[in-house]
Symmetry: D2
């Protein structure tokens, strides 16, 4: 048998006496299916990192097994079965701990506010889980519109506004829908934004955002207020990056809060 | 009626007397379905640019119509119907010319050479068409392995090798499968590469590439020889970018050939 | 002598009879000095591509010589000496043609419009030259502000606005300052933008852009009008990419014009 | 006086009672001068993030002051004066805490191992400091070469190798040269790599790496052994990302160690 002849260098002992925190595969692009609240399932393309620990006495891990596991689970990855993936990793790689990270574009059919025209809107999701922790971490990066209160206040007319990315990251144990986090972000901005807008929608959004001017600081505070009340959230971090229309850099704000202390 | 009241600023005349070559939407990320030789259809996530020309007497175009067209065709985009998309763009935008560009990751289930283990392998495809031209342009970017002939020749053992990206771009009128272009690239390198490899596969690829050392120049020449004979190819460009393992920059070569002159 | 013993595989003949259009080094990051209208010289960090052609009878080129030439000229690269670099490439690589591309961030000390506070503003420049052509190509990518005329017209108040990138590319033989192209772009937008702004400046820019609403189409037409009159410009392309505040994609327009036909 | 009339919206009270962890400017690109062990000073282009905290009773911060501070210190930023920058931020922004992050390409003139030809080699550095902590964090990302021990062992000849990025991150209080961390990384790999190599150098590196095969796990262990002995290091993290030549994804390993517990 051919494998008999091939020395398994990775399984040989290592004498440097240094355990490795994480070893595995990084930045593999893979087609996956994720849960979709409206339509059940959604096809997307993910970027995946999968790591295990390596005790000090082993020299190397077996990289191909990570891909076998990814391939096995690719038809349905969610917060519901992520612990099964971690368990499978620990078993197949014979490790004490396992770490799984997946980032993917997630699309929702979104209706324009007045014309009701529909198109797909993209949100960037990241799901992370570690077998050492009894929760998962879910982040959604949501593009929104922010209009500057200072600019509106001091100017005779207008108010500078821009695309912002409001990112909501939570730790939770029970199922929380991606859609719920998107809603938190979109309701915390001067206006949410759309893939398709007719003239009457453009009028609506322009006026809505002018009536609702918000600093980068206001948006993260607004989102925090909502997350503090959301059931199942153990911890959260909210950050907003405003791609300022009057500068070539971003305005940024971040709030982080551990709710386990407060409940 | 609300639309009656909203002035259509875009449709107003422009007096600068300068026609616009391309106007439209850029960098929209959208879920699409593309043709797949093995499985019929494949879900992926694309980045799309859609432009039309604008005669000198109009001030602006209507951006929302591009998204309506993209949404209409998203369930099946291919070299077969790309001219229908261009026609629809010309009609809906009332333009003389239309231009469509779509880039997406494309996955093929690929078998390891010895163990026959299967996993998905990613290739980056770009399809471009313009109503002024009677052909489409298709590019596939293929990751491969290159081993340096000079390094092998002058060294007592070993030979530096690296991941390379061999990109094949063609102009054609009739259907050419993405898979055919991938095959050209993979057969032009020191070895093709895989998402999953067991030890016996790793041995096979290491030895194969050592037996088949190729410069960046050799790889583009190999691919050119194949493309010169491929039916339906009107023009091609082949480029290879070797992410040198001995440097922090790439070695690069490119060949471009118009076969319409030669046939 | 050690070199005697090392076979020069690259210089050996090749029998496939296919000449190579471009071969060389790509994506090398290098510290360089460029000309600066205000201060004489400016230190920056560039990304460089250098290629030559390779006749069909040679198998490979000598990659190290490109780096020697880059290192020799790094203390002063400009439109003034770029033809010397091409000549040196042709000579050292023994080639018929040479191609040089350099991209770098370029900084100008810019004064805020009212407070006159000063800070460095970044522009992205690309300079390309090919020994087959009797001109160089210079591009500057300029961040600006655009305010939508349609949104302003149809809304009771406000008008959506955003950061846009207005890129001006020209072909010329004689010296044209980067600063002149930046000026074309900044004067073609709803407002130029700044690294530092006090409240009185923010008021000024908010009002100025509201008074000067422009579509993506208007901005490229404005820039074209200026370039058509600029001395020494043989050809130009202007494109604008508006990072729409109401969408998660860009609005785009491009105009290209060959002035050699018209002069 | 014009400022009298402009309401300072940012300084107004906020009633949501939520303090903000970080608020400021992000991703500003700026020309800076950093310390250089060999040449005293080095010009480069940095990407900078600057944040302060915001107590719950203030609505917003004053973004222009961050740029004033960056502009003031840009002629010399180092681990030596980073605490001065933090102090200035706290003072000018009237905050309790300050956070400063700067990333820049750093170049060293490096001699080829045999020919002794010289060229600039790029390393990516990140320096982070927070006024809440009595140390700074310095990271250097070093491109190196790794050759796979398994591939070498099981194959009749050759061994797959690739460009890897070995990143060394430390926390320290006293001055540690960037050059020292680069040395740790370069000595932990199968071979270091170069911008310029003549044939005799290529032979040297090919043979050296073949004689010194290392897994991604070996490289982070090698670097850890060196960092455990380096004076002044309070904590370190080492990670390696091998851009596998046989795959289109990376192999990855990471070790993190707090030496404050052990000393």
């Amino acid at each position: 048998m051919k494998n008999k002849k091939l020395r398994d260098v990775q399984s040989e002992p290592d004498h440097r006496n240094i355990p490795i925190n994480k070893v595995g595969v990084k930045d593999i692009s893979y087609p996956v299916v994720v849960l979709d609240r409206a339509e059940g399932r959604q096809h997307t393309v993910a970027r995946v990192n999968m790591y295990v620990n390596l005790p000090h006495h082993f020299r190397g891990t077996h990289m191909s097994r990570f891909i076998e596991i990814l391939n096995k689970y690719r038809d349905g990855i969610s917060t519901l079965n992520i612990r099964d993936i971690l368990d499978e990793m620990k078993k197949q790689l014979d490790s004490e701990t396992a770490h799984f990270e997946i980032e993917f574009p997630y699309f929702i059919t979104k209706e324009a506010p007045v014309s009701k025209e529909k198109a797909k809107m993209e949100y960037t999701c990241t799901l992370v889980a570690n077998s050492n922790e009894d929760y998962y971490t879910l982040e959604v990066r949501v593009p929104v519109l922010s209009l500057c209160p200072c600019s509106k206040e001091i100017s005779r007319y207008g108010g500078h506004n821009q695309r912002s990315f409001l990112s909501v990251r939570i730790k939770a144990r029970d199922k929380i829908w991606i859609e719920n986090l998107i809603e938190v972000a979109e309701k915390s901005a001067s206006s949410d934004i759309y893939s398709i807008l007719k003239r009457e929608d453009e009028k609506y959004i322009t006026e809505k955002s002018y009536e609702n001017p918000l600093f980068v600081e206001d948006m993260v505070r607004n989102a925090s207020e909502k997350l503090m009340k959301m059931e199942g959230v153990l911890w959260f971090s909210v950050e907003s990056e405003n791609m300022e229309s009057i500068h070539n850099h971003s305005a940024y704000a971040q709030i982080e809060m551990d709710l386990r202390d407060k409940r």
